[in-house]
Assembly symmetry: C2
Homo-oligomer: 420 residues x 2
């Protein structure tokens, strides 16, 4: 039967990976005679929690994660230079599917999280328009809405790897990355209310936080897709994600998705704000800098196994990870277990949305020897995620932003996974 | 310009609703000269929260909703008959898009929420199989996984409306309804490991809670689609939603999606458990009862405006609601503002997933007179959501479960919305 069941399962897997069939731990343990924990007890004996009533309803009325998951939290990457400035990373190694739960969406603030009263907040539309407008939050919420699942990635994400493996786990190398269902009003709907002047080519967006974070955006490229958002994953925005209003510019680097949005000004040319001159530009080897690089290039990373995980048994593993592109849908993801010498296609195991985190999986039989796990994304434009060396050859090691090289995780013979 | 912008917006809306164009409050207020709050202040003056740094990072590291949203919580429908028994409803009137955030997913427990240690929990597969198996949670998580967005609805949802309008708001009439991205292993993958005997026709699934909630399920109808789930919306299951393992049977009534799953037994015929004999059956007028009615029929409800909301100005409103079907995708939703005399198509304003909550919107110009708002879903099988009267004619008023009649919200001339 064992052969038959395995054959049936292998036949049901995409990619034609004949050697890759599941050997889950309990089964391997039974075969090897080492599955004491699973087999020495009476399996159907009711546990303590079956013998008594559990906790009452709505305790609390806004639910919280299981206490056993207390370690699945955002973590701060570095000490802030000023109060409230810094970033906190999403624990990718402990997440599943494509959605990031609101409590774990990454944070990047330039002056902390403002406590904005939604009744007092205003959004101003002005500049090259026929009629400036002032909106309350309720006003914005009365327009027709749309809901879309989009990723957000800080342009500084994975900047730790420019000069080679940092040794850090995936939460710190790739954790400035999240994906939510966003609900809001199209930017074009709101701007049409004011009437866009023909001379308007750029849009200045400003936040109401203490940094008044401000970016210039190319109007034509964002007009139809950008959203003025008030909800994420079904509920109102979280304070750290821009409550009560934020801009979502799908596929663009995180900082352009202005949080706590208070001002939209139509202009003829970029304002050259702090965040698009001294910051968020990429220094090249010849001393010039790339500026206004908005789209996040196609990228992927294996989240399981990843540094911090330890392989405890030889045999089957489902390698799992995330792929995304700021230019559209993910077309394919390939996986290597020999450091990029050979590749095989992964399965996309959830819905494939435009500009959204896309979960992939690939079967892998660990033979107990050293291995090097890598993933490589290709998006619908045909762009292929580059190797670290190719990226450095093109951009040097001082670019700081927009690192999207293929990530390598080493698996040692003892089962430890390292970023080395 | 006003006419031009409105024309452009109307032209961009589906459904050809020429009269329905946005008149957001600030704009209407400016026209009417009553927009004091929005126009009497200096619009660009920075607020207090812009003048100082905000709250520091990761405070808390697992994020929480904005304090201003403290009223958006689950609410208990009725006092429990025994400790931990009862239900808590999702606040649909305050949610957006299609995803339900994990903290607001509805609850229905028969003996409270068990505090299960995932390291101690076991899942047993036995009965008509060639090799029974015992799995740890880690074992289950090593199998190939899939992620899908599916709704969950309690079969008792909206049971308050069998005998006519209950007067209750939508959280209490329709709030035993949620939708998450679920991640887990296909039931077929797990059962193939044990080898399904040809005589196995039904599956008994049992929970590890104090009620040991147990249901019989028709194997062939659920084998490929059902999932053994360990994550919802990206993170591990919440305790009240089945941590560490639950069954998801897409489209089937909520109680069959066994939480805290500890046992799967393959059998030849239903076990006739308490939950499929004295409970979860539908009493018909002739005294017979419908049994093993699994799929939730196509249904929809307007969540905004709904009872508790008050319309404060005449003019444009985007009527918003949810539609879903246990038999596949939603094909269309129609909306009426005259109590079902005339209907017009709504827009589906997010992704339309199989067996998932689907957000719809329709434009409406409120003229200030009384109105009756209704929505009507049609699924991909062609099934059309019935009126209350047609449903009662077929099933009487003692069915208790599977109420899916068209819901009517009355709008009074003073702007109040009532379930009457």
């Amino acid at each position: 039967m064992r052969r038959r069941a395995l054959k049936r399962l292998a036949g049901g897997l995409a990619g034609g990976v004949a050697a890759a069939v599941p050997v889950p731990r309990a089964w391997a343990a039974t075969e090897a005679g080492s599955g004491a924990a699973a087999t020495s007890q009476r399996p159907l004996a009711p546990a303590g929690w079956t013998l008594e009533p559990g906790a009452p309803l709505v305790a609390p009325p806004y639910g919280q994660p299981a206490s056993f998951e207390h370690d699945v939290i955002r973590r701060v990457a570095r000490a802030p230079a000023m109060p409230g400035s810094g970033s906190a990373m999403t624990p990718l190694a402990d997440l599943y599917g494509g959605i990031t739960p609101n409590g774990l969406v990454y944070e990047r603030h330039h002056a902390g999280v403002p406590a904005i009263d939604p009744d007092q907040h205003r959004l101003v539309v002005h500049g090259l328009v026929r009629e400036p407008r002032i909106y309350t939050v309720d006003d914005v919420m009365r327009f027709p809405s749309e809901s879309h699942i989009y990723f957000l990635e800080c342009s500084g994400n994975t900047g730790s790897e420019w000069k080679g493996p940092s040794g850090l786990p995936v939460q710190f190398t790739h954790g400035l990355l999240s994906c939510c269902e966003w609900t809001g009003v199209r930017l074009s709907t709101l701007l049409d209310e004011s009437g866009i002047s023909p001379s308007a080519k750029w849009l200045l967006a400003e936040g109401a936080d203490g940094a008044a974070l401000t970016r210039s955006l190319p109007l034509e490229r964002i007009l139809e897709r950008a959203l003025i958002v008030y909800a994420q994953n079904g509920e109102r925005l979280r304070p750290e994600n821009g409550y009560p209003l934020r801009l979502i510019v799908p596929g663009f680097e995180g900082n352009t998705n202005i949080k706590w949005l208070r001002r939209l000004k139509l202009i003829t040319a970029p304002e050259m704000t702090r965040e698009e001159t001294s910051k968020y530009t990429g220094l090249l080897p010849d001393g010039l800098a790339r500026q206004f690089v908005f789209e996040m290039d196609a990228k992927s990373v294996i989240t399981r196994p990843s540094p911090g995980h330890k392989l405890t048994a030889h045999g089957y593993y489902a390698i799992s990870g995330l792929a995304w592109s700021g230019r559209g849908r993910i077309r394919t993801v390939d996986v290597s277990s020999d450091g990029g010498k050979t590749w095989r296609p992964a399965r996309l195991v959830g819905a494939v949305h435009d500009r959204a985190l896309t979960r992939f999986e690939a079967d892998w039989q660990w033979d107990g020897g050293p291995a090097q796990l890598q993933s490589r994304a290709t998006d619908e434009t045909g762009y292929v995620q580059p190797t670290h060396d190719a990226l450095v050859a093109a951009r040097g090691v001082n670019s700081q932003y927009h690192y999207n090289g293929i990530q390598n995780w080493r698996v040692d013979a003892n089962g430890e996974v390292r970023n080395a």
